[in-house]
Amino acid sequence: MGNNKFMHYAFELAWILPSVAVPVAILVAITLTAFAVGIRVPDVAGRVDPKALSRTPPFDQPGVKELAPGRYEVAMIAQVFAFTPGEIRVKAGSEVTFEMTSRDVIHGVKISNSPVNVMVVPGQISRVTAKFDKPGEYLILCHEYCGSGHHVMAGRLIVE
């Protein structure tokens, strides 16, 4: 019986050690990819009054701005059930920073085959940056339920 008890502790230990090691390894991987490789999640980017968007840069002029060769800034407004601009054109290999907000309810933006995945909330600015290397058409879709026409809310990003 005593031996049996020892075996129990041995089994418990053999399970507990990897149960600690696996989560620790995951956390190290997460932290490295976020802060060394730079795959970031959205951060605090400030508030904006949704009733004053027409007077608040950059949302007073939604659209694509080429800041420098290979660097773009996109000011985008989400509202039921469309994105403004609905079509974005950038050159292959560019780094694009999106500044987004919503005019009404909560929306979400997911751009296919890219790390862009962010909530777009009235009163808040969502800022994300991504690099688009491969030419082609990328689907921009609203991925948060925003009302009866949620499923038609989409746009496109064309990398030339």
């Binding site: 970031r40 009404d104 991925h143 925003c146 949620h150």
Partner: protein, 561 residues
Amino acid sequence: MATIAAGRYAREREESDVFLTENRITGANLIVAFVALAIGGLFGVFQALEYNQINLYTSIKPVLPGQYYQGLSLHGVLNVLVFTTYFIIGWLTFVGTRAFDRPLASRNLGWATFGVMTVGLVLAAIPLLMNNATVLFTFYPPMKADAIYYIGLTLVVVGSWLLEVNLVLTYRQWKAANPGARTPLPAFMALVTMTMWTLCTVGIAAEMLVLIIPWSLGLVGGTDPVLARTLFWFTGHPIVYFWLLPAYISWYTMVPRQGGGKLFSDPMARVSFILFLILSIPIGMHHQYTDPGVSQIWKLVHAVFTVGVFFPSLLTFFNVVASLENAGRARGGKGFLVWIFSLPWGNPAFATQVLAMILFAFGGAGGLINASYNLNLVVHNTSWISGHFHLTVGTAVTLSFMGITYWLVPLLAKRELFSRWMALAQAWTWFVGMAIFSHFMHYLGLLGMPRRTQIGAAPYLNAEWRMWLPFVAVGAVIMFVSAILYYANMVLTITAGKRMAEEPEVEWAQAVSGPNDGPAWLDRFTPWLVIAVVLIVINYAPTLVQLISTTTLNIPGVRSW
């Protein structure tokens, strides 16, 4: 007073109906739970067919004016809010009183729990059914439903708190009568579950009472969506442990016995529940990784703690599987894994819950991916997430609850289960249907398909998604068959099952390593509660202070459906 109570208690014991009232309370809660699951589940089948452009909504337009998204709201509210909460309140009333072997401290309070929740349910149902609350179960403002929707849901939560009060009072009475004894494991677990729930629902209560209800009544002009989301997910993640822990109670304290063996370790089970109490709440912001207005550093801290809560989940995995092995070997099973075949797979309550555990292992692994901070960018708000929680709440919880009813309903109704074969067929069809459904929902999520979206009508529905969507419908239809088997069996059990002369005993599992093998501090509540509160303050205060100090409360409500 004491003698009158003792006298009544003794009289009831003579009638062998000591727990008559508790049984009725449990039964009433179970009936509401499973009626809700039937209606909510039906809309799940509608959704899977709609994905394949088979639109059944038009045929019920008069009763469902809000069509897909009203159905989706009903699916979410009825399944994950109503079904779960009612089942758990009924189940923990049963577990707590039976494990303490004494009635509820206050039976009136027991009925009041059910009463307050049901008034709330009726209030919330009115706008839901009238298409005036098509805001899904997450009700993110500034989408604005009728005020009575929010008031109703709040009352459901407030009602559930009354069970915590009742269980704590019952625990005190038990403790006075049993000085120095270790709290029975099932009762300890029921108390931890309800205490964690009461603590975590402070978030949703604040969201409702301070932000949403005054705003929906027109008393304040605007709201703050990110602050509301932060308070929502303060409750919204621990709520999954509120669903899971009651299933764990069965897995730990009953399934080993149903399998013919013993629980591997009682102290280890207590450790895991204490860790769930401490770690379930300060991790809610992992649902907000993609939110603006919340610092990426605090998101990372919540990621760390979320991965931390994986540890008690792994303890549970080990302890429960070791208990199953104990059962398999006790029944003559041999070999490294061959003992699995010696388990009583013909026992519906046992087989159903073990199948639920198997799919949960995949749900747990997927959950670790969702929790992984930037890796979550790949899957956030895609159908991967719906695939994930259909393995967790849709299977680990729901299928386990169904398995529990295979012995609990016969006990409450004093009638034998109508058909063992229907029950076994139900368990396997749910298992297979869900495995197919969930696998393809995960996969479609990786292909970029969004969740909570009327995919069949989406202009961007593409050929690649179309190729795999039929499997989603196949899985859902198999689960529909499973549900029909379940409900037919339950109705037949209650109405036509063979009558039992006496109420059967509740079969608690003995432990290989019992409660006295662990130190006394494992049987305490207050120190763990203090640690839980401290961690919550550390992990939430900076974000809440930042949001509240910068809020303008100026976002008006919108009805966009």
